[in-house]
C-alpha cells in the first residue's frame, strides 16, 4: 500500500475515473445495456419464495451468514488472461474487502465440487448447480477486457446462486492499476447496500492520530486499509480528530507552544489552521449532524462542553458542571449527545437529550468509563471501560440498558467510534505492543487490524468520502 503525502489523490482518481467513463461512454453504455438486459431477464423469479433470499439484517443478533465465492477472473475475449497481475489484484482486493464483512463466509476454491472455474462471467455461462451443491449462496465473477495500453475494462457481477439471479453488475474503465482499490470500494458499497441496506462502510474514511518522531499528526486511511495519507504536518501534538458531516473538514486538538489550540484541516485547501479559544484546554471536538462544532473548554476554570459559532468563537454552553465534562458525541438526528463526566466522582457515560433537557446516566458498572460514541440511530452507545485486564470496549443499549462487551484485548482497547452505518465500530488497541486501529461490529464479531504503518495509531474517526 503506497503512502501519499497529500490528500488529493482520491479526488484526482475520482476525476480520472469519471473522465475515462465519459471518454468510453459508448462502450460503457453498451455494457450497461447488456448488464441491464441480463438483470431484466434474471429478475424473473425462477422459483417461488426467492424474493427474500440473501438479505442480512445487520441490526439483528449478527448470527446470519452468507457463503460467498469469487470465481477466478476471466478474460472476456480469450481463454487466457492478458495480464494475470491485474486479475489477481482485483481478485485479492475483492477477497480482502469481503473478508471485512463478518456476515460473509468465503468458500475455499478447493471446496467447489467440479472445480472453481466458470465458463463465462454472465449468468448463462455459469453452471450454478455445482455452486449450489457446494453451498455457495453468493457468487461473484470478474471479467477483464485488457488492452495493450492500460488495464482496460473490468466487469464485476454478483449472483444469487439458488435463484440463478444476478443481483448486481457493474462495468468500470480503468486508466491505471492504482484505481483498483477505489473501483472495488464502489462495487462493494453497492453490494453491501443490496445485502444490508447500507453500504456506507465502503464509502467512508477514517482520520486518526499517528505518532512519528515524537510528534503526532492527523492521517487518514480507508477502513479497508487502502490509501494511507498524511493530512497534517504541524510539529506538535494533534489529538482527537473529528470529521465534519460533509467530509470537508477535520477538527482536532493541537498542542503547541505551551498552549492548546483548535486545529482545523480543510479538504479544499489541503492544509490545517490553528485557532485560539478562551481558557486553557481544547478537548474532544465533535461535529453535530448540522455541522456545528462542540468541544470541551475551560473558560470558567473547569472543562465544560460548549458550542462554537461559524467562525470558531465560543457560542453557548451545552453542559456546565463543576466536574469534568468531555467527549461529546452526537446521533444522526442531533437530538442526543453522549458525553463522559466525572460528576459522580469517577468518570461515567451520560446521554443528554436536547428535546427534553434530560441527562441520562448510561454506565453503572466499573469505576472508569470514558470515550462514548453514540450510534447514528441514537439507540446504542459504545464506550471504553477500565477492567482489571485493561480497557475494553462495551456497547450499551439505551432502550434496555443491556451491555455487551465487544473487544477482548489483550492490552488496552480504547477510542470506539461507530461507523456511519451504525454496524461497524473502529477502535484502537495496544494488544500488539503499539497502538493500532481495529475494526469490529457492534455485535463484537472478530477484530481486524487496519494497516496504518509504523508508529502508534489512535483515535479513529469516521467521515464520509466526498464525491464518492
Amino acid at each position: 500500500m503506497g503512502e501519499k503525502n497529500e490528500g488529493t489523490s482520491e479526488t484526482r482518481l475520482h476525476y480520472n475515473l469519471n473522465q475515462s467513463i465519459r471518454n468510453y461512454m459508448t462502450r460503457i453504455s453498451f455494457y450497461f445495456f447488456l448488464l441491464a438486459a441480463i438483470m431484466l431477464v434474471s429478475l424473473q423469479p425462477l422459483k417461488a419464495g426467492a424474493q427474500d433470499a440473501l438479505r442480512i439484517d445487520i441490526f439483528g443478533p449478527g448470527e446470519e451468514r452468507i457463503n460467498v465465492f469469487i470465481a477466478p477472473p476471466r478474460d472476456l475475449r480469450s481463454e487466457v488472461l492478458f495480464d494475470p497481475k491485474l486479475g489477481s489484484r482485483i481478485y485479492d482486493g475483492l477477497q480482502n474487502n469481503l473478508n471485512l464483512l463478518p456476515f460473509l463466509m468465503q468458500v475455499e476454491p478447493g471446496h467447489i465440487l467440479g472445480g472453481p472455474d466458470v465458463e463465462g462471467v454472465r449468468g448463462r455461462d455459469i453452471d450454478f448447480r455445482k455452486f449450489n451443491l457446494s453451498r455457495v449462496d453468493l457468487l461473484l465473477t470478474i471479467g477483464l477486457e485488457q488492452q495493450a495500453r492500460g488495464p482496460g475494462s473490468v466487469e464485476i457481477r454478483a449472483f444469487e446462486v439458488f435463484d440463478q439471479r444476478m443481483i448486481l453488475g457493474r462495468a468500470y474503465e480503468l486508466q491505471d492499476m492504482d484505481q483498483v482499490p477505489l473501483m472495488l470500494r464502489r462495487f462493494c458499497a453497492e453490494l453491501m447496500e443490496y445485502l444490508t441496506g447500507n453500504g456506507d462502510f465502503f464509502r467512508s474514511r477514517l482520520a486518526f492520530e499517528r505518532k512519528q518522531n515524537g510528534n503526532k499528526d492527523i492521517w487518514a486511511v480507508t477502513p479497508q486499509g487502502t490509501d494511507l495519507t498524511r493530512l497534517t504536518d504541524l510539529r506538535g501534538i494533534t489529538l482527537s480528530p473529528a470529521w465534519s458531516p460533509d467530509g470537508s473538514r477535520i477538527a482536532f486538538t493541537l498542542m503547541r507552544d505551551n498552549r492548546h489550540h483548535l486545529g482545523l484541516w480543510d479538504l479544499e485547501k489541503g492544509e490545517a489552521e490553528a485557532f485560539s479559544l478562551p481558557g486553557n484546554t481544547v478537548i474532544s471536538p465533535a461535529f453535530s449532524p448540522e455541522g456545528r462544532l462542540a468541544l470541551s473548554l475551560d473558560p470558567m476554570g473547569r472543562p465544560d462542553i460548549y458550542w462554537l459559532d461559524e467562525v470558531y468563537g465560543v457560542d453557548e454552553a451545552i453542559m456546565e458542571h463543576w466536574a469534568i465534562d468531555v467527549s461529546p458525541s452526537f446521533d444522526a438526528s442531533g437530538t442526543k449527545m453522549a458525553f463522559a463526566s466525572g460528576r459522580l466522582g469517577n468518570p461515567h457515560i451520560f446521554v443528554h437529550d436536547f428535546e427534553t433537557g434530560r441527562v441520562q446516566r448510561v454506565s453503572y458498572e466499573g469505576r472508569y468509563n470514558t470515550n462514548p460514541s453514540i450510534s447514528p440511530e441514537g439507540d446504542f452507545v459504545a464506550f471504553t471501560r477500565q477492567t482489571p485486564d485493561g480497557h475494553r470496549i462495551f456497547v450499551v443499549d439505551l432502550e434496555t440498558g443491556n451491555e455487551k462487551q465487544i473487544s477482548f484485548g489483550p492490552g488496552n482497547d480504547e477510542d470506539p467510534a461507530f461507523a456511519p452505518d451504525g454496524y461497524f465500530v473502529a477502535y484502537s488497541s495496544n494488544r500488539s505492543g503499539e497502538y493500532r486501529l481495529y475494526l469490529t461490529t457492534r455485535n463484537g464479531d472478530g477484530s481486524r487490524e487496519i494497516p496504518t504503518g509504523e508508529g502508534n495509531a489512535k483515535a479513529p474517526a469516521w467521515g464520509m468520502e466526498r464525491d464518492f
Binding site: S240, R302, V326, G342, Y368, N371
Partner: protein, 200 residues
C-alpha cells in the same frame, strides 16, 4: 586666703584678655608676603613635585577603590544570577504528584508549592508554565481534562500564596508526555504529576 586667690585669678584673666587684643592687632598688621618671596626656585620646584606625587597617589587610591567597587558589583550580579538560577532549578525540580484519577494536593505537594511561591515572591521577573500530566492508564480525552485539573489545583494554591495569576500559565498534556515511558506502578506514580517550567 580664699579671697586673695580669687582677686589674683581675676587680675591674671584681665591681663590675658588685654594682652590678647593687643597681640591680635599686631598679627593682622604684619605682612606675610615677604616670607614667601624668600623661597628659592629650588624649593618651589620641590614643593610642586611633592604636590604632583601626592595627587598621583590620591588618584591611584581612587582607581583601586573604583576597581574594587566594580568587582563587588559584578560579584553581586553573579550572585543574583546564581540565586535566580538556583531558584529556577528548584522550581523545576519540585514536581508534585497525585493519586490515580485525582487532582487533590497532598501535604508534600503543598509544601513544594510553598517553596515555589517563596521563589516567585522573591524574584518578580519569573513567570511559570504549570504543566498537568497523567499516567497512561486512563483514556486520552478524559486525561487531558484531568491534567488541566491538576495544573489548576497547583495554580490556585500558588495564587492563594500571593503569586499574581498573570505570572502563571496552565497547559495540560494529559498522557502525552510521560516522565518515565514504562508501564508499571512506579512509572505511573511518577507520571501523575504537575511540573513547573520557567518562561523565557
Amino acid at each position: 586666703m580664699k579671697n586673695r586667690t580669687v582677686v589674683l585669678l581675676a587680675l591674671v584673666l584681665g591681663l590675658i584678655m588685654f594682652a590678647g587684643t593687643g597681640c591680635g592687632k599686631r598679627v593682622v598688621d604684619a605682612p606675610a608676603d615677604p616670607a614667601a618671596e624668600e623661597l628659592t626656585e629650588e624649593e618651589r620646584a620641590r614643593l610642586a613635585e611633592e604636590r604632583l606625587q601626592e595627587e598621583m597617589r590620591r588618584q591611584a587610591l581612587e582607581e583601586r577603590r573604583l576597581q574594587e567597587e566594580r568587582m563587588e558589583r559584578e560579584r553581586d550580579a553573579l550572585d543574583a544570577e546564581a540565586r535566580i538560577q538556583e531558584a529556577m532549578d528548584e522550581i523545576t525540580a519540585n514536581r508534585i504528584h497525585f493519586a490515580f484519577d485525582s487532582y487533590e494536593l497532598d501535604a508534600d505537594a503543598r509544601s513544594k508549592l510553598q517553596k515555589i511561591s517563596e521563589h516567585l515572591n522573591r524574584f518578580d521577573e519569573l513567570s511559570l508554565v504549570i504543566e498537568g500530566h497523567t499516567d497512561e492508564r486512563g483514556t486520552a480525552e478524559y486525561n487531558l481534562a484531568l491534567g488541566e485539573r491538576r495544573a489548576r489545583a497547583a495554580y490556585e494554591f500558588l495564587v492563594l500564596l500571593g503569586v499574581s495569576s498573570d505570572r502563571l500559565q496552565i497547559i495540560s498534556y494529559g498522557e502525552e508526555n510521560p516522565l518515565v515511558d514504562e508501564s508499571n506502578e512506579s512509572a505511573w506514580a511518577q507520571n501523575r504529576r504537575a511540573e513547573f517550567k520557567v518562561l523565557d
